[in-house]
């Protein structure tokens, strides 16, 4: 009742939610601007979203966001701030790289798209510091719900056959027209089911622990068969969200169907948010159940590495290939989580192990973000630059397959170089940022005592290089000739997409060459 008696006390420390407040006001404000604007092309809302996300990103550096707010339900620490930067950064690049595509898909509906994206980012940033089961779930759903609508963007409604194409819009083929709807529905069904599963687990945790606050739960949860069930449900529910095998079936289909710049956002930000939620729960109130959840996580890692790396090899559609590669990458993220949960105080005291798991996870998520978004933007650039000329409109479905990358080196040397950088980073080749991320994860896992897992992950990563290098081979060693013998056109990239690719390539290379400061920042963020 104390919270009721002095309501204004609940506002103590609310200033650490300044960035989240900015995002909330931005999202609502853009919606109001959207309805106040005359109908027509609303591209300017995209610029507004970009500016506001940039402001929010800068605010995470200039404002002091550490502290406790909402009567202890929200804690701003290094971890939360680092995660916020990843989320807002992913949102920024998602808007920047998607400016053209969003305007192309639905010129009149751009306001809604950016509003949904900002709402999703808001859910993520709130999630990053949640120390309360209800806040955690509500913010997780605030993140998820907009994603379902955004995945289906452009896929709803009848194909305008009789009325003729919409002015100012490049008409896709009929099959392609309905594909985003399929992507959105798959994401929605799997997302809804996984939410239910995770929520059931969380309700059991609440029932057993008698509180929604993590601080209370950490002392009241004692174990038992029901808590084991709850932990299993929570891990399974969030494994769906991050797309770790065997809960990955939605990943390739959704990636293939949804618009590529959105997939670039979807493939990094919600995954990082899923990891943030897992870290909050598993390293927080459920840390006492580490024996149970580490077993489950080990299973997820082994299956993810196997399924992701092996299923990526035969994929011809490059977005599906990146989807399966993402499944394998999630295995690496879970390895960092495992390392974070397995190093006990005893290990630190007796063997001098540094508990670096959480820091490696933070670094890994950032590295994965820049490389994966860059890879998807490269796909978008190649696909948007030219449907195969001479083909009828109905057959223009094959624009994200591997053959469209043939001879990209001679069609656009700079784009090929950037694409090469991104796939090398994802593959973990030295001096791209992904290399340091993978090595650091493996080292921390080795220190945590999972030698066999390290050996397996290293072997499967080497196998994974095959499909990453297949893209490189297509770009650099094949003639720029399509499957039907026509010469593929030169690729011109401009505007926001170009800027996004350049910035991400610079980040991938820059942090790859000088990883030290960022790793140190990750250590500090993880509280080491």
């Amino acid at each position: 009742m104390s919270a009721v008696a002095n309501g204004f006390a609940a506002l103590d420390g609310i200033e650490i939610l300044a960035v989240d407040g900015l995002l909330a006001v931005s999202a609502l404000g853009l919606l109001l601007v959207d309805v106040a604007m005359p109908a027509g092309n609303k591209r300017v809302i995209g610029y507004g979203a970009l500016l506001l996300l940039g402001l929010a990103f800068a605010a995470t550096f200039t404002l002091d966001l550490t502290g406790t707010a909402l009567s202890g339900a929200y804690v701003g620490d290094g971890f939360a701030i680092w995660c916020k930067r990843i989320f807002i950064g992913a949102g920024f690049f998602g808007v920047l790289g998607g400016l053209d595509s969003t305007a192309r898909i639905g010129p009149r509906r751009q306001g809604e798209y950016y509003q949904l994206l900002l709402m999703s980012v808001l859910g993520m940033t709130l999630l990053a510091g949640a120390r309360d089961l209800i806040l955690l779930m509500v913010s997780f759903e605030l993140m998820s719900l907009p994603l379902y609508a955004m995945a289906a963007w452009g896929g709803i409604g009848n194909y305008p056959e009789q009325k003729g194409p919409i002015p100012g819009m490049t008409m896709p083929s009929k099959r392609r027209w309905h594909r985003p709807a399929e992507a959105g529905l798959k994401l929605y069904l799997v997302g809804a089911v996984s939410t239910v599963v995770a929520l059931y687990g969380i309700s059991l945790v609440f029932g057993l622990g008698g509180s929604t606050r993590f601080a209370v739960l950490a002392t009241t949860l004692t174990g038992g068969p029901l808590l084991t069930l709850a932990v299993a449900m929570i891990v399974a529910g969030f494994a769906f969200k991050i797309g770790a095998a065997p809960f990955h079936m939605w990943v390739p289909d959704t990636y293939e169907g949804a618009s590529t710049p959105f997939v670039a956002f979807l493939s990094v930000a919600p995954k990082a948010a899923g990891f943030a939620a897992l870290v909050q729960l598993l390293l927080g109130p459920l840390a006492g159940m580490a024996a149970t959840w580490t077993t489950l996580v080990v299973v997820l890692i082994v299956v993810s590495l196997l399924v992701g790396n092996l299923m990526a090899v035969p994929q011809q559609n490059i977005k599906r290939m990146l989807g399966f590669s993402g499944v394998a990458q999630m295995g690496f993220g879970l390895m960092a989580l495992l390392a974070a949960g397995s190093v006990t105080a005893h290990d630190v005291a007796s063997r001098g192990v540094r508990p670096e798991g959480l820091a490696t996870l933070l670094f890994f998520l950032a590295a994965y973000m820049v490389a994966n978004m860059g890879a998807f933007f490269t796909v978008e650039a190649v696909a948007a630059a030219g449907y195969t000329p001479g083909k009828p409109a109905d057959e223009r479905d094959d624009d994200d397959t591997l053959p469209t990358f043939a001879g990209l080196h001679s069609r656009s040397p700079a784009l090929a170089l950037a694409g090469l950088l991104f796939v090398l980073s994802l593959g973990g080749i030295p001096f791209a940022v992904g290399f340091w991320a993978k090595v650091w994860v493996l080292l921390s896992l080795w220190a945590a005592g999972f030698g066999w897992l390290v050996v397996m992950a290293a072997a499967l990563s080497a196998a994974g290089l095959f499909y990453y290098l297949q893209v490189a081979r297509s770009m650099y060693m094949k003639a720029p000739v399509g499957a039907d013998g026509t010469t593929l056109p030169a690729v011109k990239v401009g505007g926001g997409l170009l800027l996004a690719i350049v910035l991400l390539a610079l980040l991938t290379m820059g942090v790859g060459l000088f990883p030290g400061p960022v790793m140190e920042a990750a250590r500090i963020a993880a509280g080491l």
């Binding site: 009721v4 008696a5 309501g7 204004f8 609940a10 506002l11 609502l28 919606l31 109001l32 959207d34 309805v35 106040a36």
Partner: protein, 120 residues
């Protein structure tokens, strides 16, 4: 352990027996038709002749109206308990409710501007 769960098990037992009793009582008590009347298979057994089948298309404006209704339904669900406890909650609650209503109003404004309640 068992002591703690006793109410839960009792609840489950009552729930299960209640549905069982309803089904069994229905079997015993209900009036059974002697002959197999075709009207038994109608959509409404109350004498109303159904017109057409149920697989018809509804105009999407019903869906939009339902969405706008949810907006105010959710509002009422929060405003009513708030009004009852306003005296204890104090100034903070007033501030918070106006914030909540402002966010809802943005949604309302959006719906109106997009023509959600225009009935053509």
């Amino acid at each position: 352990m068992t002591q703690q769960w006793l109410p839960a098990f009792a609840y489950l037992a009552i729930a299960a027996s209640a549905s069982a009793i309803m089904i069994i009582a229905g079997l015993i008590l209900r009036v059974k038709a002697k002959v197999d009347e075709p009207s038994k298979y109608d959509t409404y057994e109350c004498g109303e002749e159904p017109d057409g089948n149920t697989w018809i298309r509804f105009h999407p404006r019903y869906y939009v109206v339902a969405l706008v209704f949810v907006l105010f339904d959710a509002e009422a669900a929060f405003v009513l308990p708030w009004a009852l406890n306003l005296r204890e909650l104090g100034q903070f609650a007033i501030l918070e409710m106006f914030l909540f209503l402002a966010v809802l109003m943005v949604g309302w404004l959006y719906a109106v501007r997009k023509g959600a309640i225009q009935w053509q």
